[in-house]
Structure formats: structure tokens, C-alpha cells
Symmetry: C2
Subunit: 408 residues, 2 copies
């Protein structure tokens, strides 16, 4: 039984964290540090954008199986910064290693913020110096690091859960994430600008990497705010084994708990999409292949026309079908079923390839369903038995405003 | 020498046209009719969306090599309308055929407007009755049909040109098009919701279809307003040979003229994208393959982050590189060159994988270049010698407003 609890990244045993103001940003916290008392098994997922930020390049090259610390800054993505960027990322690692008496290979690094500007290393070093002195456990520490990694985020993405494993061990999972725009991760384990830090005191072996990829594919990789995949996406799971139980690699209870935590984080990211007023959940059922199901989810959730219709509660469901047709997936139009859900309303729309109703009064039901903070689009493709779920948000005036003035 | 002239679809010899108000729309013209005195060789490009509107299905199935008339309505797309939709499209053809004494297979049909509502055939038939009596030539007729096919368009898309062919014959080309949203055509000849009607009095044989596909691939298929491909896109070329010259299939002068007309129409569609304040031209040079060059153009032009940055003249060029990295195309980051052009400004941005400048003063130059009605993004991938050009527009508050209230 997975139990969600009030907690964050320092909830699992042995993890400390903090967030400080280094000066990269004008006022807010902009540098976070996370440490584990003992080296933690590290599982990473990185952006599959061909242009990768310097910290991503460095982490992928070192591919360290364990990490004892992770330093994260916001305000500057250290992306498109050439060789100097790589040196700066290495210096961030080295500075933390020096302060904490670690091998630099034991230090992870992540950045998020503006692309194409060099880092101000003077400020970053100052920040790291402050952060190491400030490391702590508890809800205050959790909040500091969660705040330090935020950019255009309006709500903190944090989640914690505990679960009693098959061998009786109680393990804890804590997760934070940032991400509001340039979000459409397709993270590949070892080879997603959502930055996520997930901690657990469960024990995991390197072969858990495959499960981690599957969990990411069903959670973080099914979120899309704008279809634009960042140069910096990174999702890092640290498992330090300090709960002292058996290896949890194959424990379905652990997997269920981690999937539940990651799904909750994924939904929160979609809900806090730049300028979003509504969370859109797209569920595709009875697709021929899993790949097809995911493609339809992505095509619907990325469509600016669907997104703006939902913003305006405009019952223009034809756009959902337009997106289905563009996905390339197989479906049987004569039997496709489309349902729109919101609040108490659940409105079936299609029958035999044509809308069920034509009258203005019944179209009104669609409008009422759409006029909710959470709107679900459910498509039954009627050609197989694979399904997928993904999350996105509406396209609003504020999305345009935020992104027309980001760097200013 | 291609010469652009003031003209429209009735400028080439033997074509007549009109536009009337049938009542499908509340007030504006909503039904257009085009005829050719003699059967014209017909070359069509249709949407590759798997969900095709009824008129598209009918046209694709009949695949008539010649057409004598085309009826077009706006206000209702006759898409997602099942069997009744097919019957309605056939009835539109039959009604025109009866009035004009034609075989119905000689009548083309196109629809655009709201998806998922049945046609009011009473109004459509009334409209056709009025239109056949009103057929005419000249600028007034050109304007009537151009207006009748518009939906959210704010400017009429019309273009005409003449060219003296190699054999001395002077031929005329006239084109009209509609399209403002749900625009990202990938039209396949015989197998793009832009509706376009192109007329010419040149003589063409069926084998010109291949050239027509190539011309569409470099023009209409390189326009993207929102990355959403319609269920109704159709681009129809009618060549009635009434200029009396030799077959123009292989005449480079004819091809050049037709390409010039289609490029001009394509740019006008991008410029009039829903809510657009700026035309964005993306040019990709030295790609490894033509396919790669086109993919990069599409990825940049479809990125909501790039589009909203240009709306705000926000010099956030990192987003262009983010889109390049997501395209899947090959490039050599160390040698990639990025130039942003607008008005008199031409600003080189990248060198050796990093921005050339870092200071606020020079970033200001990028802002100034972006602060123009037409902004060009030029990317040199440095890995081959293939190139492509495409057109799009900025993402604005008005795009959101238009699409949040379309069906209301």
C-alpha cells in the first residue's frame, strides 16, 4: 500500500538539502544542493534533444553509477555555451567536491534558465560555499531546494510517499521537480527542462535502470506543455539503501510507489504549464500498439487548436479528431469513441464516425464539461488493446505573454 | 520572364467564377463556383490527415483527370459527418452538374469551416442555384469567389502571373487560396485546411502531376501556422489549354511561373496566420538531405516558444537552437551558423557552438532585427548542401482569442 505523506527530498533517510541565493537571479533562490550520507545508486534520464546543455553532456559522459551530491542552479541553463560551458559545469562539480571532501565524479550537476549565456562562476562559487554550510533535513530544507530550482514555475512540485516492501522494510521516496515551459520531455535513461530530483532510502542495483526508463516513459515523458523539448531535461533518482532492507529492484510494491510519485509530479508539471488555467488529461484506449497510443496522446495534447479550444471551453471537438488523424496511428473511424469529461459531466461525442448530436443545446453539455479546472479527453480507437495516458494544459494569453518577454 | 499582374482565377482564358451568400454563414459570402469553358486537366493535392472530410474522400475516389467546374463552400467543413456527409458532397456535385449540364464526375467539390456538423443542404442548393446564374469573368468575379472561400482570413489570397513559354505562347496563371488556422499542409498529389484554386490556360498532360507535387512540396507544404494539419486541405490546379500553345509539362518557364505564384500564395497564407503580426521565414542551408532541411524548417516554424519570442521581439535565440536539436536532423554544432534578419538588420549569432556576443548592448541588435513585420531566421547546418525555405507566423494573444472562441 502506497501512502502519500507530507515530505520532500530529505524525507528518506540520509539525505540533506538546501537552497540559497547566489546572485545569478536578481532576488530569488537560485542554487540548490542535495547530499546523501553514503554514496547513492544513481539513475538518470536526460533530454534526447541533440543540443544538450553543458551539465547534461558532463553527466552523460561520466555516467557515474553512484552519486553523493547534486548541485543545481536556476537562472542560467549553461546551454549553447561551448567549451567554456563544459569547463564551468566541471568547476561546479569540483567546487562541491572540494567543500565536501568528495571525488568530483560523485557530484552531479544540473542547470536551468536562459540558453546561450555564460555562467557567472564567481556568483556560483559563492553560492556553493553558502550552500554547504546550510545543508539540513526536514521540511524547511525540502522547501529551500524546491524553490531554488524553480524558473517560471508558480507552484512547487514536491511529493513524498512511503511503502512497506515485501520484506517488511518501510522505505521512503521524496521528489521535487521544476518545469513550466519548454516541456515535452523524451528522456532516455543514460543517454529529460524538467529537472527532477528523486530520493529514496530503498536499495537498488544498476539493473533497475530499465524499470526507471519504463516509469519515466509512463510519467514524465507523457507530459507536454508546448511540444518543445528542452536542452536541459534531467531526471535523477538517488537510492542510498539506508532503509536497510533487501534490494527493491523487483519488488512490485516499490515500483508501484515510485510510479505513483512520478505520475503525481508529472500531473503537477502539466497543471503548472506556463500560463495554464486547466489541466488536460488525454487517455487513449484500445490502440493497436503502445507506441500508437502514446503518439495519439502527444498529438492531441500538443495541438495548439485543441489547447486553445479548451482554454475557451469552446466545444470544438472536431479538433481532437483532426489531431487523431494527424497522429499516424491506426484507428477505425466507424467505431472510434470520444468522451469529454470535466467535473460531474461525462459527454460521449462520436458514433459511427459522426457526432452524436447536432443541436446547440447538446453542444452546450460539451462546453460545460470543458468549463472545469481538469478536463479529460478519452479516445477509444477500437483496433487493439493498448492504452496510454498523458497530461498537458490549455494555451492561454498568459502563455504568450510569458514567452514573449522571457529573457527581458 | 515571369510577370506578376493584377488578376485572379478568371484571368486565364475560358474560366468563369462567382461567389454568393447561401446562408450557411450568417452574413458573408459562403459559396463559390468556378467553371472552365472546356474540360480542364485537373491536378489535385489533398490532406494527408487520416481523417478526411467528405468532399476530400469523394474527390480522391473519383480521381477525375479533367474537371469543368468546382463548387466550394465555407462555414461548414463537412468533415466528421459520416455517410450523410458523403451523400451531401455528392449532392453538391450533382446539383452543379444538373444546372450546368455536366457529368457530375466533371464537378469538383471543396468545403471549409466547422468540423462535425451536418451541412444544411437546403441552403447549399439555393446557393448553387444563385451562383450558376451569376458566373462571370473579370476582377469582380475573381473577388467574389475569393471572398466566398474565406473563414478566419483577414486578407484575400490572390495572385496572377503571365509568362511567355518557349514556343512563344503567352499563358496566364491565376490563383486564390484561403487559410489562416489549422494550417500545416502535407498535401500529397492524389492521395493539404488550405483550399486553393489555381487556373491556367496553359496545356498540361497527366504526367505534370509529379511536377505539381514538387511545386506543392516547396510552397504550400512549407507553410505552417500551427502545426495542425486540417481534414480538408485541397489544392486544385486546372489547366484548360485555351491559350492554344504546346504542352507546357516540361517547359521550365511554366514551372518557374507556377512555382512563383504558389510561393507568393504560401507567403500570404503564413502572413495571414490566425492572429499573426509578423511573417517568419525560415531558411535552412547546407543540410545533409533535403528531408533534413525541411524538418528543421518545420521544427523551428512550429515551435510555440520561437513563435512567441518573435511576437515579443524577445532575443531568445536559444529557442531556435532548441528546435534545431529536436528536429532529428544532422548538423555540426561547432560550425552551425545562425543569422536573424529583419528590416535593414542582419545579425549573426553563433560561432563555434556558442553565442558570438554576451553583452546586453549586442543582444539589443537581435531585438531590433526581430522588431519588423518580416523576420528571417537563417540556419547553416554545415554538413551538406541541401536547403529549404518555409513560412510561418508569430504566436499572439489574438491566436489564442480566435481559437478559444471559434465555434461560438
Amino acid at each position: 500500500m502506497v501512502e502519500f505523506i507530507d515530505g520532500g527530498v530529505t524525507t528518506p533517510e540520509g539525505f540533506k538539502a538546501t537552497g540559497v541565493h547566489s546572485g545569478v537571479k536578481y532576488r530569488s533562490l537560485d542554487l540548490g544542493l542535495l547530499t546523501s550520507e553514503v554514496p547513492a545508486s544513481a539513475f538518470a534520464g536526460f533530454t534526447s534533444n541533440k543540443i544538450k546543455a553543458a551539465p547534461v553532456q558532463v553527466m552523460m559522459q561520466e555516467n557515474s553509477p553512484t552519486l553523493s551530491a547534486v548541485v543545481v542552479n536556476s537562472g542560467n541553463a549553461n546551454a549553447l555555451t561551448g567549451r567554456r560551458g563544459i569547463e564551468d559545469a566541471l568547476t561546479m562539480k569540483q567546487t562541491v567536491a572540494n567543500e565536501l571532501n568528495l571525488d568530483p565524479v560523485q557530484v552531479g550537476v544540473m542547470s536551468t534558465g536562459l540558453i546561450g549565456r555564460f555562467m557567472d562562476m564567481h556568483k556560483i562559487k559563492y553560492g556553493i560555499n553558502r550552500a554547504v554550510k546550510d545543508l539540513s533535513v526536514g521540511r524547511k530544507a525540502d522547501n529551500l531546494i524546491a524553490e531554488a530550482i524553480m524558473t517560471t514555475d508558480t507552484i512547487k512540485k514536491e511529493c513524498a510517499a512511503r511503502v512497506r516492501l515485501s520484506d517488511g522494510t518501510m522505505v521512503y521516496i521524496g521528489a521535487i521537480s521544476k518545469g513550466s515551459g519548454m516541456i515535452s520531455p523524451h528522456m532516455k535513461v543514460l543517454h529529460g527542462t524538467t529537472l527532477s530530483l528523486v530520493t529514496t532510502d530503498a536499495k537498488l542495483s544498476p539493473k533497475f535502470a530499465k524499470v526507471w526508463q519504463e516509469i519515466l516513459d509512463d510519467s514524465m515523458n507523457m507530459v507536454s506543455v508546448d511540444g518543445d523539448q528542452s536542452t536541459n531535461d534531467t531526471c535523477l533518482l538517488l537510492a542510498n539503501g539506508m532503509a536497510k532492507g533487501a534490494c527493491a529492484d523487483d519488488d512490485p510494491l516499490f515500483r508501484e510507489a515510485l510510479q505513483a510519485v512520478m505520475n503525481k509530479i508529472a500531473r503537477t508539471i502539466a497543471k503548472d504549464g506556463e500560463g495554464a488555467t486547466k489541466l488536460i488529461e488525454v487517455q487513449v484506449n484500445n490502440a493497436k500498439t503502445k507506441e500508437d497510443a502514446r503518439r495519439v496522446v502527444k498529438e492531441v495534447i500538443d495541438s495548439p487548436l485543441v489547447k486553445s479550444a479548451i482554454f475557451g471551453s469552446d466545444p470544438n471537438y472536431g479538433r481532437i479528431m483532426m489531431a487523431l488523424g494527424n497522429s499516424g496511428a491506426d484507428f477505425n473511424l466507424e467505431e472510434v469513441r470520444l468522451v469529454i469529461k470535466g467535473g460531474e459531466m461525462e459527454v460521449p461525442i462520436l458514433e459511427a464516425g459522426a457526432p452524436i448530436f447536432q443541436e446547440e443545446r447538446s453542444v452546450e453539455a460539451v462546453r460545460m464539461a470543458m468549463d472545469n479546472k481538469e478536463v479529460a479527453i478519452i479516445l477509444d480507437l477500437a483496433v487493439g488493446n493498448e492504452s496510454a495516458i498523458g497530461w498537458g494544459c490549455d494555451l492561454t494569453y498568459d502563455y504568450v505573454r510569458i514567452n514573449a518577454e522571457y529573457s527581458t
